[in-house]
């Protein structure tokens, strides 16, 4: 069975999220072999970027640090070799017959021109869709700086849609007063889907030195800690939009995927959870399938179920 998410035929509805094991074609192919139904690349921009100084990602754990990790803080700084150098990474995945699954190219830029240039620059590698990163919380002039302004989101979405003939997803930031406005802007711009959420603005300070721990001083929070935030955003977007919502944020077990779907997600992305489990995609999807079987659900029945409990 093929799961069609916003025009993209997925092997299954679990997708590797942007910025996680998406720098090389080989690592993306590996995640597909490990069960991912599709992969989103590292965010690619118009020129090479070397990223922030390390530490660029740390874990936060319960039980005084000895418990299970419940969150991650990261500030990579959008490192990428630019679209010219990155095409060969997409080509690599596409060249693997045994592991074929859709490749969604995450792209970013400082303005409409950038986004269009990057999208057109990657088209020769035949990505199956684009995901517009207008939500990175720690890149001055990029990401959330743009993604918190409805007019810019609509303009960029429309421009990329107009430039390419494939589906365009827009990844949203939760760091706004009203995510529905941004979602509506993406929809007005012609987006085929919105992806919610990118990381939540956060920071950690090393009390032994007084230094912020991340090289960028602050970054984005991910992992189980943000799942309730993501569920709320997905729930609100499903209420408001006609286009599909793809849920991402803190999913680390099959129950989390069911919850995200009940909030309104047509498919999910998984990122930080690869920290604990390389086979997270296969495990999560197997658990959801068993849950559907045991309870006699059709897949579509789960999507937005919470909205029908009134």
């Amino acid at each position: 069975m093929v799961y069609l998410a916003a025009g993209v035929p997925l092997k299954n509805p679990t997708i590797l999220a942007a910025g996680v094991l998406g720098t090389t074609g080989a690592s993306m192919a590996r995640m597909i072999q490990n069960g991912a139904g599709g992969v989103v690349t590292k965010s690619i921009g118009p020129i090479p970027v070397y990223g922030h100084a390390n530490p660029s990602m740390i874990t936060l754990a319960a039980d005084g640090g000895k418990g299970q990790v419940y969150g991650y803080l990261n500030a990579m700084g959008l490192p990428n070799p630019s679209y010219d150098a990155f095409r060969q990474e997409i080509d690599f995945v596409k060249s693997k017959e045994k592991v074929h699954a859709p490749v969604i190219a995450s792209i970013f830029g400082g303005d409409v021109k950038d986004f269009v240039a990057v999208a057109e620059g990657l088209i020769p590698s035949k990505p199956d869709a684009f995901e517009l990163n207008v939500s990175c919380p720690h890149a001055k002039g990029y990401g959330a700086d743009i993604g918190s302004q409805p007019c810019q989101v609509e303009e960029i979405t429309a421009a990329v849609k107009n430039a390419v003939g494939i589906p365009v997803w827009v990844k949203l930031t939760p760091n706004v007063a009203n995510i529905k406005e941004i979602g509506l802007a993406a929809q007005a711009g012609g987006a085929d889907a919105v992806v919610a959420i990118n990381t939540v603005r956060g920071m950690a300070i090393d009390i032994h030195s007084g230094w912020p721990v991340l090289g960028n001083r602050s970054g984005g929070l991910s992992g189980p800690a943000v799942k309730p935030v993501a569920v709320k955003c997905v729930y609100d977007l499903y209420d408001t939009l006609e286009i599909p919502v793809i849920g991402v944020g803190g999913i680390s077990c099959w129950e989390d995927m069911v919850e995200m779907m009940m909030a309104g997600a047509s498919a999910v992305q998984i990122g930080s959870a690869v920290y604990a489990n390389d086979n997270i995609f296969a495990d999560v999807w197997a658990g959801v399938q068993q849950f559907m079987k045991e309870n006699g659900f059709a897949f579509d029945e789960l999507i937005g179920m919470a909205h029908r409990r009134k």
Binding site: T24, S27, N54, M57, M76, P81, G215
Partner: protein
């Protein structure tokens, strides 16, 4: 790098909210610095040991305000580095009493030899750092250890004494200032590798590339493990910056130690990626 806290009561601190698992930096104070050579190759010993460190593990060392870099664990409570850039130069400036942030131990370690087995360790330059504790552990286990220790010149050679306490050391320098003139590969080429059960390699990638060539010729590749180096960003297996083609394995989590056979037909010896993810040929 002012250290504003003392580490009295590590135990307590390890129970504290800020010792966030091995993925959050803990405070480590430098209690001793050892210059292994007069060529800016230095060992730092800390006031705390790595939790169950195995030879081959690395740690992420945070020089506050500068950068965080991966360094192989050369001691239960120490690392050994050479200055190669801004971070290692800043690290070289630190004195006893200064502190750094430490995460780890991380990564896939070497497979230890069994008692009675014959182990061959091939170390090039600073690559000797993670191999010295391996040699010591192997001897402790009761393995028979032979070391081929190479360096550019005598002034660059580290841990000769540590290795010599663990087994038979064959020395080689490019300029002949110490041991035999030439490369570790010259010494390796003369060995009867059939008598070794395990072979461990760490050094510059070009050196390891030629070592692999010989191991293949002598049909000894299946016994060998190589410790790899790549640019690390997260260091905990999530971001993918250190992934190697064509298997997509992460050097920080699936490595740094790999079975040599996994590296055949990989990017090994051909290219690596810089911080942007761009491929840089060797």
């Amino acid at each position: 790098m002012s250290d504003v806290s003392n580490n009295k009561g590590n135990g307590k601190e390890n129970n504290s909210c800020q010792c966030f698992s091995r993925g959050f930096p803990v405070n480590a104070k430098i209690i001793e610095t050892i210059d292994e050579t007069n060529t800016r190759k230095r060992t730092l010993l800390f006031d705390r040991s790595f939790e169950n460190m195995s030879p081959g593990n690395f740690c992420m060392l945070w020089i506050r305000g500068v950068d965080e870099i991966p360094l192989g664990c050369s001691y239960e409570n120490g690392v050994t580095f050479q200055t190669v850039g801004s971070a290692t130069n800043a690290l070289f400036e630190l004195k006893v009493g200064d502190s750094v942030g430490l995460r780890g131990p991380f990564g896939n370690p070497f497979t230890l030899p069994k008692s009675g087995e014959k182990a061959l360790i091939i170390a090039g330059g600073i690559g000797a750092a993670p191999l010295a504790p391996l040699a010591e552990k192997s001897k402790e286990i009761g393995a028979d250890v032979t070391i081929i220790l190479g360096a550019r010149s005598e002034a660059d050679m580290i841990f000769e004494e540590r290795f010599s306490k663990t087994g038979n050391v064959l020395l080689t320098t490019d300029d002949g200032t110490k041991g035999r003139k030439g490369f570790v590969t010259d010494v390796l080429a003369e060995q009867d590798l059939t008598k070794f059960d395990k072979i461990y390699v760490c050094g510059p990638e070009m050196m390891m590339k030629f070592v692999m060539k010989i191991l293949i010729e002598k049909d000894a590749l299946s016994k060998a493990e190589f410790s790899m180096e790549r640019y690390f960003k997260c260091g905990i297996g999530v971001c993918g910056a250190c992934c190697m083609d064509t298997l997509g394995v992460r050097v920080c989590k699936d490595g740094p130690v790999f079975k040599a056979e996994m590296l055949v037909d990989s990017e090994f010896g051909k290219y690596h990626r810089d911080a942007s993810g761009k491929r840089i040929p060797y």
